[in-house]
């Protein structure tokens, strides 16, 4: 194998890619596309949960049960969960690649980020889609009002 030694001060060039999927490019695109959607989803989330009515003081089980019994907020929350966790996990991967100089450390940290992202995505999705807003045997004053109807 020969190595080309370039003339001094020649402009920076990239090594040619060997083909296959350019994952770093798609990661770069993902950060921008998901970021754009997340601005809308998270600003909406913060507005409804912290600005409307009594804001943070209104948050309790009944409030969340009211929201998660609507398919609109189920989809909103699950899309936000997936986009945000993968966006955050990929961002943390960038920092690990920048600051962890040891290959082993880098593998361990990237693995830990991947594990956290996978576990929390699965947990969050299960919580949203297996959630019962009117669990049996719970005090009625903690449940949303519509639980009393039946």
């Amino acid at each position: 194998m020969t190595t080309d030694i370039q003339a001094p001060r020649s402009p920076y060039t990239r090594a040619p890619r060997k083909g296959g999927i350019n994952w770093e490019k798609w990661g770069w695109i993902y950060m921008r596309v998901s970021g754009l959607i997340l601005v809308v989803l998270i600003f909406g989330h913060l507005f409804v949960n912290l600005m409307v009515g009594e804001g943070v003081n209104a948050l309790n089980f009944a409030f969340v049960a009211g929201k998660l019994s609507s398919p609109f907020w189920q989809v909103w929350d699950v899309v936000m969960l997936w986009l945000a966790l993968i966006h955050g996990g990929n961002g943390m991967r960038t920092l690990v690649n920048d600051y962890a100089t040891n290959a082993r450390t880098r593998r361990i940290l990237t693995g830990a980020i991947l594990a956290a992202v996978v576990v929390l995505t699965v947990l969050g999705t299960l919580v949203v889609y297996t959630f019962d807003p009117c669990p049996a045997g719970q005090p009625a004053d903690l449940l949303p009002l519509f639980c009393q109807a039946s």
């Binding site: 001060r9 970021g35 943390m92």
Partner: protein, 138 residues
């Protein structure tokens, strides 16, 4: 290229490389927006991990969820929520600035940083007083 005297050479003219490196991220507004984007990003990521776990308590019992969420309604955590929203709003607006730099033009990246700061101040003025009144009048 017009010749200039040594005293008035710009940074880019003094450097020996043909293509000056790091014009977007080295120094001044470009660098500070990058630093803040990283710090706020890490803070938001760790909050997100905790926030998914606390919300998952709705699946355990109403009491468990209410017990944890009531700690978010204390004055100390109320101030923490202002810091969290401040981090999210900066990260969001600076992220839009990065998208504009990448897909539109890097020409106005400094001016856009001050637009980000201005929008951040306006958003925080709309959020912080209302939120703090909610927290401290509870």
């Amino acid at each position: 290229m017009p010749q200039k005297t040594a005293g008035t050479l710009s940074y880019q003219q003094r450097t020996t490389s043909r293509r000056p490196a790091g014009t977007l991220y080295r120094g001044r507004e470009g660098m500070w927006s990058w630093v803040l984007h990283r710090i706020t990003g890490v803070a938001i990521f760790f909050f997100l991990l905790v926030h998914i776990l606390d919300t998952a308590l709705v699946r355990v019992s109403p009491e468990a969820y209410n017990a944890v969420i009531s700690t978010y309604q204390t004055p100390l955590m109320g101030l923490g929520e202002v810091a969290l929203v401040a981090a999210i709003v900066f990260h969001a607006f600076n992220g839009l600035r990065i998208i504009l730099i990448d897909f539109w033009t890097p020409k106005y990246h400094r001016a856009m940083f001050y637009v980000v700061i201005a929008l951040w101040v306006i958003t925080m003025l709309a959020f912080a007083p209302r939120h703090l009144i909610n927290v401290f009048s509870h």
